[in-house]
């Protein structure tokens, strides 16, 4: 056996090992919401009431944490909660993805009914502290929000027996509360729930213990519900829903079946075409294509890449790119043979001369995919990422794998059989 054959053998062994690991490896493919079923909710985060000197991204991050805790509490498997800032619309967004949750009402309740609680102080020049009317514009938000609550509990006033809600702040929250009360002695401190004031007590002195009592005019039932909601996590910032996407479980799984079926049939058609037209090199290209697919699927599984309908479409199109790289090389090889080169030289020349075309056309594809990824929403990103991976792996497979295989089958013989096997098309010339 010559060294080219030995190389080809090792390539096959290596790819087969990857393939074996792909099938036997314990992990599953990660399916996106459109394939697995589930809901994605997009919220607009209202940061307009934050004090001007506060760090917006910190507040947004603590909002994210609270929502995540809340979602976890409901036992959703592998939820993702992310925040993003949109420059185009200059607003913050919260994106919650809940795999398996296909009841959108339930999903929205899970998050939407999380209360927002915050403390607001009197603005300079507000009406006198004794004023009883609730002028909302008199108050401005402080950094102290529901995310600093460690525990809420229901208590009853010892004289009037009126239900009240007692808050225990975290140590950080207790410090903030002490600062705020110290700076506002004699002034009003408003407690806002879901954007409206529920209690506006007057601060008598600095409060250092980290405890506050809300004495709104609650019924016992209302106070109980509020305590429950606050304990589950209060949101530091108000949010409002701006987009929903729910995919039922049957739609998803039928899309997976259809996608797999289409990929297999498409692959088979390409294989038949390649072998009929390019004969022996076609067979080599098909083997290279199988290697290409194994590598891609392994990347999908082990990176892991979240697969969506758009992502699978990107993969199928990248197969086209990979075939193209082989077609370019074979056409070039054929020309060199026609110009009288020996088989061995023709193979080397074919690869060398097709390289600039392959390089440039793949670069163009990579440019498109990178721009798509940078600009796109999650659907577009899914497509762009598999397309990008496809272009990169295709470059490697066309230049390295196909070349190794082609070198391994080159012979010095010039019998009619060899001529037939290495020529192409449906003519016998």
């Amino acid at each position: 056996m010559n060294s080219a054959k030995i190389k080809a053998f090792w390539v096959i062994v290596a790819i087969a090992a990857v393939g074996f690991y792909l099938v036997k490896g314990g992990k599953d493919f990660v399916l996106g919401l459109d394939l697995a079923g589930g809901s994605a909710l997009t919220y607009k985060i209202d940061t307009s009431h934050l004090p001007p000197d506060s760090n917006v991204s910190d507040s947004v991050a603590s909002l994210r944490d609270v929502v995540e805790r809340r979602v976890n509490l409901f036992g959703v498997r592998e939820p993702t909660v992310t925040t993003e800032y949109s420059r185009l619309s200059s607003e913050w967004r919260l994106v919650v993805e809940l795999p398996g949750v296909t009841d959108v009402k339930q999903a929205a309740q899970m998050i939407g009914e999380t209360p927002t609680l915050d403390f607001r102080t009197e603005k300079a020049g507000a009406k006198a502290a004794t004023s009883t009317d609730l002028a909302i514009n008199d108050f401005e938000q402080t950094k102290l929000t529901g995310s600093y609550i460690e525990k809420a509990s229901l208590i009853f006033d010892s004289t009037s027996n009126q239900p009240k809600v007692q808050l225990q702040f975290t140590s950080e929250g207790a410090n903030l509360f002490a600062q705020i009360t110290k700076a506002n002695v004699g002034k009003r401190l408003a407690i806002y729930l879901d954007g409206s004031p529920i209690s506006i007590p007057v601060v008598n002195e600095e409060i250092t213990g980290g405890k506050a009592v809300i004495s709104g005019n609650f019924t016992t039932e209302e106070a109980k519900t509020l305590v429950g909601r606050l304990n589950a996590g209060a949101l530091p910032l108000p949010i409002s829903i701006s987009g929903t996407n729910v995919v039922g479980p049957t739609l998803g799984s039928s899309a997976v079946d259809a996608g797999v079926k289409a990929a297999l049939i498409g692959f088979l058609l390409v294989v038949i075409f390649m072998i009929l037209w390019y004969r022996l090199p076609g067979v080599m290209a098909v083997i290279a294509l199988i290697c290409y697919s194994i590598l891609m699927l392994a990347l999908f599984k082990f990176v892991p890449v979240t697969l969506t309908s758009a992502g699978i479409a990107g993969f199928i199109i990248s197969v086209g790119l990979a075939v193209d790289a082989n077609v370019l090389t074979f056409e070039r090889m054929k020309e060199e043979i026609r110009n009288g080169k020996s088989l061995k030289d023709a193979v080397e020349e074919g690869f060398a001369r097709a390289w600039t075309s392959i390089r440039d056309s793949h670069t163009a594809a990579i440019i498109v995919s990178v721009i798509l990824f940078a600009m796109g929403t999650s659907v577009v990103k899914g497509f762009a990422f598999t397309f990008f991976l496809g272009a990169v792996v295709s470059l490697i497979s066309a230049q390295l794998i196909t070349r190794v295989f082609m070198r391994s089958i080159v012979t010095n013989s010039s019998s009619w059989l060899v001529k037939f096997l290495f020529s192409s098309g449906f003519r016998t010339k």
């Binding site: 929205a108 086209g320 498109v368």
Partner: protein, 289 residues
């Protein structure tokens, strides 16, 4: 070379198709989907009991009703799902005896929609400009007889051609079958750009090589020769990609049907323009100088 000889016919055909496409876009209009306008699309599926639904009742609530299968319906509205969910439950299950399940709900708020429109336009512009810059760069050593930026400009013109014609045809689908211009459609256009630019680069690359080795051959002949050499490859690559796409169209998920069809049209148009338009245009530009 026959293609260069009859270039007026081939280029003329393209110009005609582009004009027809603009005419179609003008007559039918581009129906933007909720991804861009905001609103909601809701798919529902009934069990054994299917009610008689009256589209007019839905219309009164600003909901368009489409029958998508024996027991499935699609509801499209400019309102969010949250604001019409009670109405839907009342209208779609009037006697409480025809329960249904939601197979898909998607709602896009107006801000998200406006942002998507901006993003799509920016993405298209950036991609086209980057490709122009890339070709000008890749062909920077080719300056005789055409400067490299002219290759870029011609590639860009034919790329526009390659996305205008599928868009024109899409408006027919949109008019007759309710297909909407959504995110997937934009992805399809950008993919057409990506594949079709590879096609043009391969032919241009061959011209670049033949100019280097060809000595004093006239430009027209060099272009003709390069076309002949790359012809089989162009067709074969398109055939393989179209084979894969046909499989995706006939057997693939319902959600990507229009996407795949747009890509197939784009592939055919793109291959045509690579062979019959882009290179002939090079010779036209060279002669006019």
């Amino acid at each position: 070379m026959i293609i260069i000889k009859y270039k007026t016919f081939f280029i003329g055909l393209s110009v005609l198709l582009v004009i027809v496409s603009f005419f179609l876009m003008h007559t039918y209009g581009i129906k933007r989907g909720i991804d861009f306008t905001g609103g909601s699309v809701i798919d529902i599926t009934y069990g054994d009991n299917i009610p008689v639904l009256n589209a007019a009742d839905f219309k009164n609530e600003d909901i368009s009703l489409y029958e998508t299968g024996p027991n499935t319906y699609r509801l499209i509205s400019s309102k969010t799902y949250e604001s019409i969910s009670d109405t839907i439950e009342k209208l779609a299950n009037p006697d409480k005896e025809t329960p249904f399940v939601y197979t898909q709900i998607s709602t896009v708020g107006p801000t998200l929609g406006a942002e998507m429109t901006k993003k799509a336009i920016i993405a298209l512009i950036v991609v086209v400009l980057m490709i122009l810059a890339f070709i000008a760069f890749a062909f920077r050593h080719v300056s005789h007889p055409l400067p490299s930026w002219k290759y870029g400009v011609i590639a860009m013109l034919t790329l526009l051609h390659d996305i205008i014609i599928p868009t024109g045809i899409y408006t027919i689908l949109s008019h007759n079958f309710g297909a909407e211009v959504d995110t997937l459609f934009i992805i399809a256009l950008l993919t057409i750009i990506g594949i079709s630019i590879s096609d043009k680069i391969v032919v241009f690359d061959r011209i670049r090589e033949n100019l280097k080795t060809g000595g004093k051959q006239p430009f027209n002949e060099v272009v003709g020769k390069s076309l002949k050499q790359t012809f089989t490859r162009s067709i074969n690559t398109s055939v393989t990609v179209i084979l894969a796409l046909l499989a995706l169209y006939f057997f693939g998920p319902v959600t990507t049907k229009y996407f795949t069809l747009t890509l197939i049209i784009g592939m055919v148009v793109g291959t045509y323009s690579s062979i019959f338009v882009a290179s002939p245009l090079l010779t036209v530009w060279n002669r006019n100088k």
